[in-house]
Structure formats: structure tokens, C-alpha cells
Symmetry: C3
Subunit: 202 residues, 3 copies
């Protein structure tokens, strides 16, 4: 079992937990909790595969990507009383997921011969679109459109990976370096409350 796959599973669990948790707070029923957990975990990669034309998408080809988020969401439903104390560690697992998903998205896009902007975009989508669909279903303005450094960590990581790939840095090194950078930026952003500027309205 490769390191990348392990990180991928950690991210899948963390993303599913964040989706299920939003559903619990929104007082959705058991079905809603599982649905929101699954969509948060696999929505980004699925949208990426739809756009690249790699159909059916990854989750329909390997059902572990259905079982793991479904089981995670069920666990959140049952254990939801204990979840608030787990929020802090979950935030760091979520950062691991973000870095890993970006790296997976960009490398897959480059395999499909997209241009550099498209590759970065596929990385951002893989990392963030699941959370965007979660927020749309919960009837809220998506967090990443207004929040601290989250999507921007993906942007930086994506650009870095496109550059390193063009420089023909060995692939394994590439992926670890970039995933690590995204995770680091995200963790620092959580610690120090970094955020992007907004356009001040008079």
C-alpha cells in the first residue's frame, strides 16, 4: 500500500467527517448525514473525472471510495456527541487530505494533457469541490469563497507541481514536496489565522 494511497484515505475520512458534521448541525436525518459525508469526500474527484472525460469516475471504479466515507459518516452520526472535542485534530487531518487531493488532481490532469492553467484548476477542484457541494446542499455560501487560506493553498501547490513537473523533478519527490507544502501552508493558516484580502465596499 503506497504512501499516497494512505494519505488519500486519511483525507477521505477527514472530508467525510466534515460533511457529516455539517449535516448533523443542520439537523439532517441519517440519510442526509451519509449523503453529505460521501459527497464531501468524493465530489471533488468525481467532478474532475467528469471534466477530464475519464468515465465512470474513480469512485465507480473502486468502491472503497464509497465504503470508507459512508462508514465514516455513520460513525459521526452515532458518535456526534464526542465530535466537538475531535474538531481540532480533524482540522489537521483535513489539511492532509487537501494537500493529497491537490497533488492527485494535478498529476492526473497532466496525464490527460491539459495545459498548465487547467492542471492547477483540476487540482483545486479535486481539493475543494466536495466542500463546495457540501455547502450548497446545506444552503450556505461556500466556505472557501469567503474564508481564510484554504483554496489559495491549493492554488500555490498546483502551480508548484506544474513547474516541478516541467523541470522533470522525479515524480515521487515532486508529489511529497507539493503535498507537504500545501499541508504546511494550511496548518500555518489555521495557527495564525491567515486570510486573503477582500475588496472593501464603501
Amino acid at each position: 500500500m503506497s504512501l499516497l494511497f494512505m494519505l488519500d484515505m486519511i483525507g477521505t475520512v477527514a472530508f467525510a467527517a466534515s460533511g457529516a458534521w455539517v449535516a448533523v448541525r443542520k439537523e439532517m436525518d441519517l440519510f442526509g448525514v451519509v449523503a453529505l459525508g460521501m459527497v464531501t469526500a468524493i465530489g471533488g474527484g468525481t467532478l474532475r473525472d467528469l471534466l477530464l472525460g475519464d468515465l465512470p469516475p474513480f469512485c465507480l471504479q473502486n468502491e472503497i471510495y464509497f465504503w470508507v466515507p459512508a462508514a465514516t459518516a455513520l460513525l459521526v452520526f452515532v458518535m456526534h456527541r464526542h465530535l466537538p472535542t475531535l474538531m481540532q485534530p480533524l482540522l489537521y487531518l483535513d489539511a492532509i487530505g487537501l494537500g493529497t487531493f491537490v497533488v492527485i488532481g494535478v498529476s492526473k490532469a497532466l496525464l490527460f494533457d491539459t495545459g498548465p492553467f487547467g492542471a492547477v484548476l483540476m487540482g483545486i477542484l479535486t481539493g475543494t469541490a466536495g466542500g463546495v457541494i457540501r455547502d450548497i446542499l446545506a444552503n450556505e455560501v461556500p466556505l472557501i469563497l469567503r474564508q481564510e487560506i484554504y483554496a489559495s493553498a491549493c492554488v500555490l501547490g498546483g502551480i508548484l507541481l506544474v513547474i516541478l513537473t516541467h523541470l522533470e523533478v522525479p515524480e515521487q519527490l515532486n508529489l511529497l514536496l507539493v503535498a507537504g507544502s500545501v499541508i504546511l501552508i494550511r496548518v500555518l493558516a489555521i495557527r495564525y489565522n491567515w486570510s486573503l484580502p477582500k475588496a472593501p465596499i464603501q
Copy 2:
């Protein structure tokens, strides 16, 4: 004209009416009423075909799936004053649609060689995604994420159909049995106000 196709048309009309009716209540204009009716009727099957990679989707291959919901929505727009008295019968036609759409979705997914979880999921999407898009467009938390037994009838029906297919029960019998079960569960849920548990928040 097969029985399945007749049930399919009944469901298409019922789903289109439910979408158009939401649009009327939200004070959308004529275009909005037709758009919401169409998206509710064909959104689920279209999303399923996108994910299975069967493109263009069913509705672009047989335009009756455009004409019937468009005509239904127009009728709702013109007759909306009489619709409240029709709500109860429409609820039962909607149940017929739900059962039929689930059966169509699961069998199509199995033809495309998805795994069992994927097949059940495609059934759920076919039956419910149109209503989810309707609610997103109407800027509401999707009904099926918080409501009584609706999506869960699809889950049970989907699982039953996957099992029966593996047992090689004759196909026609299969489809009727499962569509009938989903419709029955849904009708009982309406009658007796069944609902799924929520996670109680302290």
C-alpha cells in the same frame, strides 16, 4: 409500449408537476416554472448518464423526455389555481415515479458493470437528484436530506434489486417486484408519517 415505459412517463409527469409547483410558489416567471419542471423530471437520469459516461444522456437521445415535462409544467402554470386539490393524488403518482426511476437507474448501472454500491447509488440518484437540483435552484435545503422516508425507500429498493439480480431472478419479475416495494414503502411512509432518526443535538 411496455409497462416500464408507461410507469416512466407517469413518474416524469409527477416529477415535472412537483418542480413546476415549487416554482409557482416561489413566484418564478413562466420560464422558471418550465425550467424547474424539466430539471426535476430529467435531472436525476441525466446526472446518472453523465457519471456512467453514457453521453449524450437519455433525454438528448429521445426528446419525449423534454416534451412531456415541458408540457406538464405549462399545464401547471395555467392551472395552478386547481393544483392544491390535486396534491394528494400527485403524491401517489410521485411514489410511482420514484419506484420506477430507482429500478431504471440500478438496472442501467449494472449493465455498465458498476459494483453493488455504485449500482444502488445510481438508483438513488436517478430517483432523487432531480428533486435535489429543484431545491437548490429554489434556494432551499434539499427536502430528501431532512425529510421522511423518501431517499431511504430508494436505498432499500436498490439493495433489493442488486441482490435479486445476483440471484438471477428473471428480469421482468425483478423490476416489478422492486418498483412495487419502493412504491409501497413510500405510500406507507406518507400514510403513517414515517421518518428516519436525526442525531439529537444537545
Copy 3:
């Protein structure tokens, strides 16, 4: 550089500006402004290509469709103080985009052998789906479902183009005639505040 491509770019800029402007008013951050600008400009054509099965979609095949809306959105972010005075001209540029996008969508659908209803629908989607996604992300009921003559200009233009194509009117003439009609209807609708009827609720 063809006339159609020039009109396409004008529309792309106008649509991106409208998306970025909504994001600024919703107090999204820099990432949100660029994301909303891009999705508004390329969302409609991307959804059309997904449904026609022409993957990867146009924007992944020619990255100018990423760079132009991203640059436009950045400009809106920096210059947002001056934007209110530009709203009136932008409305007219938006009309040019609408007419052009409809024409592009319908002709592409006809190339993919859709039926007449499907072709008109692909035109409507190309012209309006980006704005719908923009409004969903901004957590509002999509403007075109409740607003004045906007989507209906696309409907009329789409139907006209399907008829002219069946009559084998020369293609260049066709496209200009229909784009011109949509733009004209839209401009008149802005001037005279035309709107579609709603179903009056008692």
C-alpha cells in the same frame, strides 16, 4: 480572427465581470472573486460540453478561456470602486455575450446531431448556466428564473436558429441574424423593462 470569436471574447469578459461583481458585493475574498468570475464566464459552455460528451470541454482545450475571465475578475477586484459607473455599458456587453453564446451552443448541438428541443436547450444552457451557477454559489435564487426577459431571449433565438438551419440559410448569415436578434430583444427588454408573466398566487 473571426467576428464570432471577437463577440465570444466580449461576452466572456462581460460575464466574468458580472460574476466577479456579485462576489465583491457578497464580500467574498480574492479567490472567491476570481472563482465566481470564471464560473460565470465558462460554466455554461462547460455544462453543454459535458452533456454533449465533448470532453474535455472547450476551456480545457484552449486556455484563453481561463486566462481572459481570470484577468477580468482580477481587474474587477482591483477597480471595484469604479464598477458602479460601468454597470450600464456592462449590461449591453452582457447582451452581446448572451446572443453569441446562444448561437455557439445551438450550432454545436446541431453538429452533435441532437434533436431540435435539445439544440435549443444547449443554446439556453450555454447562455445562462454560468449565471445560474454564479447565483447558486452566492446562495441566491437564480436571477433568470424570476427576472425579466433574459432566458426567454435565448429560447426565441434558439428556436429561430434551428428553423433557419433546417431552411439551409447560409451559416454565417444565420449566426449573425440570430445573435443580432437575441441581442436586440435583450436590449429592448432592458430599455423597456419587459418581463414574463408569473402565476398569480391567491
